[in-house]
């Protein structure tokens, strides 16, 4: 019963994500055949990217770029690894911890199953979701591969899809463990996200070409990279992936069986003396309840910025004299050297800061869907006051995020004597705030008009924007499409100075969207789940 219920939810989500994965693979393969038509162009691309440390650190290694298969793997792997990991940890923490917190597992466990058994069954159901992603991705890749221009065989397509789904599978297992350790879904997702962040950072250092390539075996993302589908497959890398998944799954089931329903493995202080400092109203409450999540994001942003700063000198030096700078120019970072590398790196930091913004909106929606918002608005609290307070807290969190990005990237560059000034990098950090404020406004608008679709809309906009930026950086993409990315109008500081006028316009649009969202919210019914 548990497996069936979980599978139903996971498969539904798996169909959508399998389609996204497949569509990304298909578009990458097709864009390569249409943009790089001749072998000469393809060889030039391979020469530009092939051994470039900057590219390798940011996007992963780029072997065999002179082939459709090699380019497709390069374009899709890292993005789908991260998206897949996020799917895995959010799905597992939702179907395990969140369901338990909502009390729905009380009903299920009154039947003929144990806590450990139920967790195992849930894992089985989630595996069905991962299988769905694999099946849909493999099908789309195989169909695209039938084209004589793309030419990817069925077997390689299946193996490629397996490589892409490896990260979601591993992070389903990670989320299963963190759901046992943590007392709430939010905590569980934060712990799992921290694992993802560290994995990514370790992979980045390993691929940066500064002599730590052995670290690739210390990162689950690195294992997936080592599978090298479509180019020179190394299926032995499936061993650590399968091993980690099996071990984490067994640990998760074991921990589920040993703890109380509703409890957590890590000690959770069930009582304490009151700390009422921030509990003066809705804004203070938002600061108090979101503090752990926001601090986790600041830590992730800080670590990423620090590592980016540490590798900037070496990676940026590799751009000098190469044609990679043309690609970087397409991404808005002209020139060579560490500044250009940092300019592109700050795009990734901008994405992280935008995720902070999206999280603030979804947290607000969770207050409404859970019924907790009603505790406030049945008291002398207007909806405008509640929403306005939360948005101001969100903006403050975004400003700090930008400052953290700037400061820690400077710490990294200063440690390597890169020579980039503190004010330049803090300016670059503040530069990434404006797309996040735009996202915040779009989220507030969605919350006002269609609250049950807030997550889909927000993460859809973010995913689309990132996809457009990455494809635009490699191929020729119409400016109409590029303009739909929230990151496209952000300059790639510190490669170029921030354009505060454009930033102002983005923020103004975000504010207008937020006002429209507030108006819609003040006029609609409160809606539960």
């Amino acid at each position: 019963m548990v497996a069936r219920l979980t599978a139903r939810k996971a498969v539904r989500s798996g169909i959508l994500w399998g389609y996204i994965f497949g569509a990304f693979v298909a578009s990458s393969a097709w864009s390569y055949t249409t943009i790089y038509k001749t072998q000469t162009e393809r060889d030039r691309l391979a020469a530009a990217f092939g051994a470039n440390k900057a590219v390798s650190a940011l996007f992963g290694p780029a072997p065999d770029l002179q082939t459709v298969a090699g380019f497709t793997v390069f374009k899709t792997s890292l993005t789908l690894m991260i998206l897949g990991a996020v799917w895995g940890l959010l799905t597992s923490t939702r179907l395990l911890r969140a369901e338990e917190d909502a009390g729905r597992w009380d009903l299920l466990l009154s039947g003929q199953t144990t806590r450990g058994g139920a967790a195992g069954q849930a894992l089985g159901g989630m595996a069905a979701g991962a299988f769905t992603i694999w099946a849909v991705t493999a099908t789309i890749t195989s169909v695209v591969g039938l084209s004589s221009k793309v030419h990817i065989g069925a077997g390689p397509a299946l193996y490629f899809a397996l490589a892409l789904v490896s990260t979601p599978i591993m992070f389903l297992a990670v989320g299963t463990v963190t759901s046992q350790l943590a007392a709430t879904r939010r905590q569980a997702a934060s712990y799992a996200a921290a694992v993802l962040g560290v994995s990514y950072a370790v992979r980045m250092v390993a691929d940066s070409g500064i002599g730590f390539h052995w670290l690739i075996w210390a990162s689950p993302l690195g294992w997936v990279e080592q599978l090298q589908p479509l180019t020179s497959p190394h299926p032995f890398a499936l061993l650590p992936i399968a091993g980690l998944t099996a071990i984490l799954a067994a640990v998760g089931v074991h921990l589920a069986g040993r703890r109380d329903l509703g409890g957590s493995t890590l000690p959770d202080r069930s009582s304490s003396s009151p700390h009422v400092g921030l509990l003066f109203g809705p804004a203070g409450l938002a600061m108090r309840t979101l503090r752990p999540t926001v601090i986790s994001w600041w830590a992730a942003i800080g670590i990423t910025a620090l590592l980016t700063g540490l590798v900037a000198k070496a990676a940026g030096g590799a751009i000098v004299g190469s044609s990679v700078h043309q690609v970087f120019s397409k991404l808005g970072a002209p020139g060579t050297g560490p500044q250009a590398y940092l300019g592109v790196s700050f795009l990734i930091l901008a994405v992280l800061v935008a995720f902070v913004a999206a999280g603030q909106i979804t947290a607000g929606r969770a207050e409404e869907s859970s019924g907790r918002l009603e505790d406030l608005v049945v008291r002398p609290v207007s909806r405008w006051y509640w929403l306005g307070g939360r948005l101001l807290v969100a903006v403050a969190a975004l400003v700090v995020s930008g400052v953290v990005a700037g400061v820690f990237s400077w710490v990294g560059t200063a440690a390597q004597h890169t020579g980039t000034s503190f004010t330049t990098l803090v300016g670059a950090g503040l530069n990434v705030i404006s797309p996040a404020i735009l996202i915040l406004g779009v989220g507030a608008l969605a919350f006002g008009i269609w609250p049950r679709a807030v997550s889909i809309i927000l993460y859809g906009v973010l995913g689309w924007s990132l996809l457009v930026e990455l494809i635009g950086g490699i191929g020729a993409v119409s400016h109409w499409i590029l303009d739909t990315s929230v990151f496209h109008h952000m300059t790639s500081a510190p490669a170029v100075p921030p354009n505060w006028g454009t930033n102002g316009v983005m923020m103004a649009i975000g504010i207008l969207c937020a006002l429209a969202g507030g108006l819609a919210f003040s006029r609609r019914d409160l809606q539960g789940e």
């Binding site: 917190d101 007392a183 709430t184 509703g262 959770d268 202080r269 069930s270 009582s271 304490s272 003396s273 009151p274 700390h275 009422v276 509990l279 003066f280 109203g281 809705p282 409450l285 108090r288 309840t289 859970s370 019924g371 907790r372 009603e374 505790d375 406030l376 608005v377 049945v378 008291r379 002398p380 609290v381 207007s382 006029r523 609609r524 019914d525 409160l526």
Partner: protein, 309 residues
């Protein structure tokens, strides 16, 4: 006539073609305790959510102390406190922190009374909400509402999850609130609770208010329950004017009497009755009698006037 704590005029809420509440005209005078009854899905919670501004009416309007529920909700909420049937609280906060937050947001707290309530409801305020049982979470929102000494208490199944001792504590709090002149609007399934504390009762059915009156008025409109024990075989009472629902069990017969009991007493006097018991219908019997006609047991018509003479 006293000032109106609650007043609705044609208050209606439709979801698509389905009327959840259908042209409700309701008045609650300041200082009275009104019960609001109805089966699941009758529209009780919809009424309360409209009054609180949580949802928007399709038609009509409502007022709290003369303030429009939708347009002047913030001002209206300064004078009321609400208890929901299911507590939705912040899991990471303790009971004390939750009470502090809700008190700060309301802007009005009688701290001494709050501490007294914590004691009376036997709540450990140092525990985090996620460690509370369902009943203890309900206590938190009860205390959060009562501690404000609000002019109007809007209670939607407030004792949900409470044990009988705590239910009794809650009733005493309502008595005290009434003594202080507070108005109480109580929606509940627990008939004994409504019967014990309410001055007037309204009964909702499929979104319409079908009955509104004091318990005495409602009992007058309903049937008396009579139980008679005989020293011989029971007589046939089915043709006695005003008598219905006759049930014989050995030498005991039970029946309902509407209107005058004189015809029945004349028959019983000559039939060897050894014991005669009569009682007014409980609120539960009134309620069941009102809705019993829908099930086809012939106790009421389509308008639900099974209670009417």
């Amino acid at each position: 006539m006293g000032a109106k704590a609650i007043r609705t005029e044609g208050l209606t809420k439709r979801y698509g073609d389905t009327p959840a509440l259908d042209h409700l005209d309701l008045e609650v005078v300041e200082g009275e305790v009104v019960g609001y009854l109805g089966p699941n899905g009758a529209g009780k919670t919809t009424t309360i959510r409209l009054l609180l501004g949580l949802i928007r009416p399709t038609e009509g309007r409502g007022e709290i102390f003369g303030l429009d529920c939708q347009r002047r909700s913030v001002e209206a909420h300064k004078r009321l406190a609400f208890v929901a049937g299911e507590a939705a609280l912040w899991p990471s906060l303790t009971g004390a922190e939750t009470l502090h937050l809700l008190g700060s947001v309301h802007g009005r707290v009688d701290e001494g009374y709050r501490d007294e309530l914590i004691d009376r409801f036997d709540l450990d305020p140092s525990k985090r909400v996620r460690a509370y049982s369902r009943g203890n979470r309900q206590k938190v929102i009860l205390i959060a509402a009562l501690m404000t000494r609000a002019d109007l208490l809007v209670l939607d199944e407030p004792t949900s999850g409470l044990d009988p001792l705590m239910e009794q504590t809650f009733r005493h709090c309502v008595y005290e609130a009434r003594e202080r002149g507070q108005t109480v609007f109580l929606s509940s399934h627990i008939m004994s609770e409504v019967e014990a504390v309410c001055d007037r009762v309204g009964i909702l059915r499929q979104g319409k208010l079908v009955e509104m009156g004091t318990l005495a008025e409602m009992r007058h409109l309903s049937a008396l329950t009579v139980e008679a024990t005989f020293d011989r075989s029971v007589p046939d009472l089915s043709h006695v004017p005003g008598v219905s629902s006759v049930q014989a069990d050995g030498r005991v017969v039970r029946c309902q009497v509407q209107g005058s009991v004189q015809p029945l007493l004349q028959v019983l006097a000559n039939a060897g009755v050894t014991q005669l018991l009569s009682r007014e219908p409980s609120l539960e019997e009134l309620f069941i009698a009102l809705y019993g006609g829908e099930a086809g047991d012939g106790t009421g018509d389509d308008e639900g006037h099974g209670l009417a003479g």
